[in-house]
């Protein structure tokens, strides 16, 4: 079986209005690193207005599960998988 060194995935925000494609994602990287790299291109804030970090879970559409930040890209993802970034956000 051919082992990929990198892969491409697509991602979107929860409203389905913002989309990005990540290319050449190293399979040895973590899901957390992938999510952190996707946020700026999806124009999603990593900090809220009070400066607190906003937590995002990546939802893998193919398996309908949230990935853990420490999971390895090569273990969790297949080429052209789609992720939806789900934020943990608070209304007052």
């Amino acid at each position: 079986m051919v082992q990929l060194a990198s892969l491409s995935v697509t991602a979107s925000d929860v409203t389905g209005q913002k989309h990005a494609r990540a290319r050449n994602v190293p399979v040895d990287g973590s899901i957390g690193e992938l999510v952190d790299g996707l946020l700026p291109r999806l124009r999603l804030n990593s900090l809220d207005r009070s400066g607190q970090p906003v937590h995002y879970d990546a939802r893998l559409q193919r398996e309908e599960r949230h990935l853990h930040r420490t999971e390895r890209v090569g273990d969790a993802l297949l080429p052209d998988d789609h992720l939806v970034l789900h934020p943990r956000v608070v209304a007052g």
């Binding site: 409203t15 209005q17 990005a20 207005r49 309908e64 007052g92």
Partner: protein, 385 residues
Amino acid sequence: MIVCHHRFLLLFQQPEGPVLGQLPLAPNWEPAVEWAAFAALRAGGRETPPHGRVVPVADPRLGLPYLSGFRVELDGADPAPPPCEFPVTYFARDARRGSAALVAAKKLRDGDTFSYRLLAVEQPEESSAQSAALAFEVGEETRPLAVTNAPLPPLFAATMPMGETDGSSAYPVFLPQAVLTEAQALVEAAGAREVGGLLLGHLQRDPALPDIGAVVTAQIPARHAVGEAEKLTFTPETWAAVEAAIRLRRSREIILGWWHSHPARFWCQDKACSPATRRACSLQRGFFSSDDLSLHENVFAKAFHLALVVTYADEGCHHALYGWNQGVVQRRGFRLLPDPTDARPPPTVAGSAPLPTSPPAEAAAAPTHTPIRESPATCQPADPP
């Protein structure tokens, strides 16, 4: 990609008095660019990705570096849509933040009147791209906005205006009473806990007008959101459940916004406020908190996105709708689609008092310091008429 070759700042002054200080700004241009792109689409133009340039507009009396606002020039459309201008009030919340700092530094007293001016100075372009810890390429992809073509006049004829009187820039929003009724039932059942959900529907374009309206068709309760007395947490599980519910509906709906409750009748119960004071309390009248604003800015950043607040007040539930207007979140009106099977009177919509998040337009000239509400836990008397 949003390009800006200027650094913006606010200059604070007391009327006829000395300069009190200045506040460098780190503007979020996305709401302005989104608004410009949506305005072009509403006017019958082609859809453009929210990319463009931010250009200062000189104050006609004082000249540069003093500004009367800024304009957004969109990329990518041929012919290019007309530039969309934004007033100084785009930075009203920054002005209040700056004034709060001046109060803390004892340069201003709470309640003092002050004015602020917007300035811009040139600076080399900074790339908005951020380097990720993991080296890979990320490109934004543009997908067409889901818009259906249909005439809007029948919807206007079937609905009645509710809430605030909107400015000419507001896009029409059509909201069924059934959605309000369902939300209200969930709010009343939750008692002292906050609850919420998502608003689904369609964007409908009428090429003859031309304009685009947001037609709400349903609300989906956020079943996995964690509701407490003064906050509601939308967890990743919340979004997963909502996505599953939308798929099950098979109605090609998009997420038009969100809703949540403020169980104000349960707040401040340990305070000995008279019934009259409670009736006049701004918490009972409805508001959009700084947390609400932060959530809306981050998750619901498209110009058509809406937020409905259901306030569970002493005298029952009332509703207020919020949405983007020229890049700023403001309380706004909507058109209520009556439920033909329901003979009850239309729901109560909160009054027209200005919001903490949306100062009146004249505020740019001489705004009075108003504290930003960081928490709904403090009982406050009504603003003077």
